[in-house]
Symmetry: D2
Subunit: 170 residues, 4 copies
């Protein structure tokens, strides 16, 4: 119960090897810091991050959009089908104490917005393209999307912000 | 059943009079074109748009985050409490055949992402600040946020895109 | 904003003509009393109730499980696709100030439970089979499923209970 | 990925010691059979079942209605706040390959309906009161609520039905 949860969001169809390596390293650092990795459970960035976490002996949770556990990638320990389609994005970010953004398209954009709406710290990894590069360092009506320059910095910043955050103010 | 639904998203705490006037005009044009206005049902941009639609004799629907109809603004005809908190944003955009963005903060950002994820046409009104100005004209992994320069152009573009859109491809 | 909303729940595949006639009459009485009819928007009991309401000049709202408005029956004025699959049942009952149960299977059973959980008055029409007959008159941990013997009694009781109910206690 | 998940549903305010002992034993047998226990994460039956699973070295998942992990009982390993209030019941049952019912009130009633609607096997433990005794052995429009007479029988039956079930037919 006292463990920190970190949600990783990013594109399910990401194919850029550098970006996938960054996602894998983010997953690895999350596990090495004994935090639980949460993600959308599918492919691309989510799969790479989960693989990294499992390689480092961590725990991975996948919050799935459909009704079947079968859509989870093979690195997910706990797979939760929600049947909520894209509305599951709200749960994905709510289940994390902080959110790390790597690349990403429309679904990722929604997760950044939902995370900020729920008062979660958001860290975007620069240089990963998509939503992460579009929003890193930006402030949206008082809510900051923090920028990190590499996987280790992203995880350290996410953990620091998670511990300093209180999310009882909905 | 054959009427078009247009969702208007934007900040619930918007106080800029120019932006609220734009929202009201957007609501008015939606009603004049016999489309049904959908919004999150609360204050700020949502209330201004709903007021505009009612002045023009239109129909307004509010998809509320909480459990009580009482949180709807006074210009909502059909108020639907969802009890889903920010996850209701997914329904708000799914209920529209197109989405118009006016200003807005984190919640609005999530609605743009969810709308694109569901394949909905999105039109942002330039000059209204917030998320609308941040994203107007941008393309996110192949999904365009169309820019409009005034309320009339926004509504005409939204209706044109709505009629050309097919959303059976989830 | 001051109108009462009544949700009608029951089987989407109901084929018993007597039960469908009862559903149609319930819809008619709801409309005659100037209440707004809410339902799941699909076939069977939902379609019959919506048809009855439209014949009497009422307003009908359909809260749909899928992502497309096309799944609504032809008697729905305001069709809201939710993309939540069976989780939309929670919204369906939350959108009503009272819930009337006619026949019904598993989905209807869930709606009775969700309605009681949200503190909504529930009225089951006896003699319509399924969940309605199973639960009419029963009390579940202090929450009563009221029994009615005909459409008129069901609507009058639902309206009376709706007006006496306060649902601000979640 | 190959482990079976079993959801346990029942009243969050259950105080009957016999019923709580049954819930604890159900949790214990689930863990002994290497299945993952899913529940709503709160008190009463959920807490007793999670405690039983932890005593036997199992893994427990709590799908919470609110926005904070703090509402989880102390025996939950993976706590997922959903922010969906009672709509989270749909996820709670969807995350299990079978559902065991112990006592329970309105929320539990909704979970039985949602489980059947999603095609999940449902087993009710007789003699635990509430929804379990109301529905054990009943068939609702072709969907059976199986009856078990003790914790061991409930878990064995749930596992057998889970393995024989295919849930790709939504």
């Amino acid at each position: 119960m006292l463990r920190v949860y970190v949600t990783v969001v990013g594109g399910s169809v990401e194919r850029n090897e550098n970006v996938l390596k960054i996602a894998e390293d983010v997953g690895m650092y999350i596990a090495e810091r004994d935090a639980i990795l949460v993600c959308g459970g599918k492919g691309g960035v989510m799969e790479a991050a989960a693989r990294g976490a499992k390689k480092a002996g961590g725990i991975t949770v996948g919050i799935l959009p459909g009704v079947s556990r079968d859509e989870a990638n093979p690195y997910i320990d706990i797979a939760i089908p929600t049947g909520l389609l894209h509305a599951r994005n709200a749960i994905n970010v709510l289940a994390g104490d902080a959110v790390i953004v790597i690349g990403g398209g429309p679904g990722t954009l929604s997760e950044v917005g939902l995370a900020l709406a729920y008062g979660k710290p958001v860290v975007a990894v620069k240089g990963t393209g998509g939503v992460a590069d579009l929003l890193a360092g930006k402030t949206i009506r008082g809510s900051r999307i923090h920028a990190a320059h590499n996987p280790k910095e992203a995880v350290e910043l996410a953990l620091k912000l998670a511990l300093g955050n209180r999310f009882d103010d909905f």
